[in-house]
């Protein structure tokens, strides 16, 4: 266990340094932030002075070494646009993004598991096919289109739900549904496929011959077996999920890191961009670590191998 944790921690450090380095050079290739800060009427003297105050007049190597040094202390400097330290800005917005992602993920799982099982056991019925058609639809429509559709129906026509921001408790409903839709549809289809495969396995027939109820076979045995490949997929999907959250945040004006990151890209706000990408990278690596630990909990074979 300690070895796994240690290796994952090392992986985290390498990933962060790798992403940080890549990001450092990519954003600097994109152009000079002093121009974006100075505005259209600035004098050349103004621009030069801004570059100097941001330390952009120093050599790239010097800037990179300072960046690595600051990375160790999580000091990404002050945002060029907000004139505030970049990391606290990201950390202030991060709970909103995590809240949205967490609710959307739970929603996806809470609906996909029963829907997938239902579609598998009722595979030849109309209702089973209807579930699959809906899941196909959900997987085909991008989250921002679903978001706009939800706003139109539930905010503009029915006026039941707020269309933007995170002020009331109800504000979470539409963004989380929009964000979870694709994942929900994808998992419904996968759970159905895995479930169908498992239904033909010997242990299911044995269970039936021993007089186990369907619920016991489905939830205690089959579900546990299919959760291992599902977990692998969840680990891969988490990164995409955070990326999807950035788009959904823009549609619902959700005050997460998405809008901060979009503004940072537009304004070439290096410190904010670096802090944001760093936070997302750490989040994804940590979530993958949790997935790895869950493997140990679910699959005794892996646990035995580790021990």
């Amino acid at each position: 266990m300690i070895r796994i944790l240690g290796s994952r921690l090392l992986q985290l450090i390498l990933v962060v340094i790798g992403i940080g380095t890549l990001l450092f050079f990519l954003v600097r290739v994109s152009g000079d932030p002093a121009l974006a800060i100075a505005g259209s009427d600035a004098t050349a003297e103004n621009i030069a002075s801004i570059r100097q105050s941001l330390g952009l007049d120093r050599s790239i190597l010097e800037q990179y070494l300072t960046f690595l040094q600051n990375l160790c202390t999580l000091n990404f400097g002050e945002s060029y646009t907000y004139l505030l330290p970049a990391m606290p800005l990201i950390l202030a917005a991060l709970p909103n993004t995590l809240y949205l992602s967490f609710v959307a993920f739970l929603l996806a799982i809470a609906i996909a598991v029963p829907a997938g099982i239902y579609a598998a056991v009722k595979r030849n019925s109309f209702s089973g096919k209807a579930v699959m058609s809906f899941s196909m639809l959900g997987q085909s429509i991008p989250p921002f289109v679903i978001g706009i559709f939800l706003i139109l129906v539930f905010s503009v026509w029915l006026r039941w739900l707020p269309s933007f921001g995170n002020e009331a408790g109800l504000s979470i409903i539409m963004p989380s549904v929009a964000l979870s839709a694709v994942l929900m549809a994808r998992y419904t289809r996968l759970i159905r496929a895995y479930f169908l495969e498992e239904l033909n396995r010997g242990y299911v027939r044995t269970g039936k011959s021993l007089g186990f109820t369907n619920a016991r076979i489905w939830f205690k045995h089959i579900l546990r077996n299919i959760s291992v490949p599902m977990l692998s997929l969840i680990g891969i999907d988490l990164g995409k999920f955070v990326g999807g959250a950035v788009i959904v945040e823009a549609v619902f004006a959700w005050p997460g890191i998405g809008s901060l990151m979009i503004n940072a890209v537009k304004a070439r706000d290096y410190p904010l961009l670096e802090a944001g990408v760093f936070a997302i990278a750490v989040m994804v690596v940590l979530l993958n670590l949790i997935v790895d630990l869950l493997y140990l909990y679910i699959d005794p074979r892996i646990r035995a191998k580790v021990n």
């Binding site: 994109s30 152009g31 000079d32 121009l35 974006a36 100075a38 505005g39 259209s40 009427d41 600035a42 004098t43 050349a44 003297e45 103004n46 621009i47 002075s49 801004i50 105050s53 945002s79 646009t81 907000y82 004139l83 505030l84 800005l89 978001g147 706009i148 706003i151 139109l152 905010s155 503009v156 006026r159 707020p162 269309s163 933007f164 921001g165 823009a250 549609v251 619902f252 004006a253 005050p255 809008s259 901060l260 979009i262 503004n263 537009k266 304004a267 070439r268």
Partner: protein, 572 residues
């Protein structure tokens, strides 16, 4: 004797007439100079006024000049302070900070004007800039020294922290902006101020290197801050929780999310109609429109042109103004075919500007005359009109210039999502130019904002190509001169190879003349005529700035500078 008496009487008569004439001329001159000198006027409900739509703040509330049933122009009550409740505005973007001295264009300009006070205030309600008192009660040029302006500061007023609003505060604020170490975005506007003197507690003298008739107008954009607090806290800390003497105070600000303004008890001139104004940042156009239609906000900014008909059919109040900006394309006149002015003129004839408005901007906006400012702003020249759409004439000019058929392959650089419908307009214009016999192709190169800025500033790897589209803003000066200077020889960001000595002379001459003088207008007209003839620009349109408000909202007005009137807006 009688003859002598008659002669004496005649002489006396001539002398008295001369005295009278001198007095009249003096009075007239005084009246003329009052164009540059303003004192507080006292408007009363029912009293006569001159310019319809102009507002006055009296006893904290607002009066507006309007025409009554008998056709007379009289002051009428416009709004009652505090009666407008809370107004929520859905906005595409807010300034990242509440910094007062960053380069000023909407939305920063109206947010800054809400929180802080400059020496003067520009009223654009009529479409033409009218200067009003703000931190200064009155101002005038010193006789015999047109470089020096005297500003008389409002008395008995203070900042929320108790510091007095006086000449020291004015000097400290201007000194800060002018100090190159502070990197104030507005510094470029006051580069020619050479001396600021505190003449008395409530009088300040400002001297410029040359007569500067726009100075009182320019100073409307530079807020006066409490000097001691600002010095103690430092700029960065002060901008986080700023205080000022504008009509509102910022009570909460989450960058990129929300700004809440509440009526400021320390306001110098007016107590606003709304008690609270909340700006909510909703960057996505469709989400912002949905927020209006769902009742989440009362007003939205930057309405996309394709949403107008939907909002109109649902009875929303649509306000469209022509931005104080012009969508133009600089033509690379350095070499090649575009170095011939007949080719540049042909391009101007080949573009159907009306089609850009009707086909792309929902019928909103205005065709730009062959000038750099919209009509109504100072320095606009009535005699210089737009190039008409005339494809045959354009082809004739190309033939006269000796350009073979299908020989020109051009590149058109455009921004994306920076100017209203910029990419669509670039594509339409390129297709219009491709209709010219001599043009083989016009490739549209869309640049994301940071790359676009590189090209604008002539930095980075991408050079400026044949056509470069941009938005020439007249804000905050609202005057032709500042824009026209960009086409003088050697202007830093105008590396298109255009140079005309006669143009330079006319612009330099206009720069030293009183903003209200006919001589200045004549020189600007001469320069505008030269510019139209030389055509280093492909003139496009004045783009629309569209706002929408719900039915319960009163006094949703947006001025020609693109600023919403936050003082008078309110809910029923």
């Amino acid at each position: 004797m009688t003859r002598h008496m008659k002669m004496k009487n005649k002489f006396l008569g001539v002398f008295l007439s001369s005295c009278l004439a001198v007095s009249v001329v003096g009075a007239f001159n005084a009246a003329s100079s009052s164009a540059a000198t303003t004192a507080t006027t006292v408007a009363t409900v029912g009293g006569k006024c001159t310019d319809v739509l102009v507002q006055e703040y009296v006893n904290g509330s607002g009066l507006i000049c309007s025409t009554n049933s008998s056709g007379a122009k009289v002051w009428t009550k416009y709004f009652t302070s505090g009666a407008g409740g809370t107004v929520t505005i859905g906005i595409g973007a807010l300034p990242a900070t509440l910094e007062a001295y960053a380069a000023s264009a909407p939305p920063r300009s109206y947010v800054v004007a809400a929180i802080y006070s400059g020496l003067t205030r520009v009223d654009l309600s009529t479409g033409t800039p009218i200067l009003k008192p703000n931190a200064a009660d009155s101002w005038s040029q010193v006789k015999g020294s047109p470089q020096t302006w005297v500003f008389n500061i409002i008395q008995g007023k203070q900042f929320p922290n108790g510091e007095p609003m006086n000449a020291d505060a004015v000097k400290a604020s201007l000194d800060y902006v002018m100090n190159p170490k502070n990197n104030a975005g507005l510094r470029a506007k006051v580069l020619d101020i050479i001396k600021i003197e505190v003449a008395s507690e409530y009088q300040v003298k400002i001297t410029t290197s040359a007569p500067r008739y726009l100075l009182p107008r320019t100073l409307s954009t530079i807020p006066i801050l409490p000097p001691k607090l600002f010095a103690e806290q430092g700029a960065t800390t002060f901008w986080k929780t700023p205080i000022g003497t504008g009509p509102f105070k910022a009570t909460s600000f989450t960058p990129g999310v929300q700004l809440t303004l509440e009526a400021n008890p320390y306001s110098l001139r007016v107590k606003p109609s709304a008690t609270k104004i909340i700006f909510k940042v909703i960057p996505e156009d469709s989400s912002r429109m949905a927020a209006l239609r769902s009742g989440g906000v009362d007003v939205v900014t930057k309405v996309p042109t394709d949403s107008i008909s939907t909002l109109k059919s649902a009875n929303y109040d649509i306000k469209s103004i022509v931005e104080p900006a012009t969508y133009i394309m600089s033509l690379m006149a350095k070499s090649g075919a575009l170095s011939d002015k007949r080719v540049r003129q042909a391009f101007n004839y080949a573009v159907d500007k009306r089609a850009l408005i009707d086909g792309i901007n929902g019928g909103l906006g205005k065709v730009a005359e062959a000038q750099l400012i919209p009509k109504g702003l100072t320095g606009f020249c009535d005699s210089v009109s737009a190039y008409p759409y005339d494809l045959a004439k354009a082809n004739d000019l190309m033939t006269a210039a000796g350009i073979p058929k299908k020989s020109l392959n051009l590149t058109f650089q455009s921004s994306t999502a920076y100017i209203t419908n910029d990419v669509l307009m670039a594509q339409a214009i390129s297709q219009m130019l491709e209709k010219l016999d001599a043009v083989n192709s016009v490739k549209v190169e869309v640049l994301e904002f940071s790359k676009y800025l590189d090209v604008y500033y002539l930095r980075g790897a991408i050079p400026r190509k044949d056509l470069f589209a941009w938005r020439m803003s007249s804000s905050p000066d609202l005057d032709a001169l500042v824009q026209m200077e960009r086409y003088t020889t050697g202007y830093p960001t105008s590396n298109i190879g255009y140079s005309n000595r006669n143009y330079d002379v006319a612009i330099n001459a206009a720069a030293s003349l009183d903003v209200t003088s006919t001589a200045r207008t004549a020189r600007l007209c001469k320069a505008a005529t030269i510019l139209k003839e030389d055509a280093p620009i492909l003139w496009g349109i004045h783009t629309p700035d569209i706002w929408a408000g719900n039915k319960a909202l009163e006094r949703l007005t947006v001025d020609a500078g693109g600023n919403i009137d936050l003082v008078s807006i309110g809910n029923k």
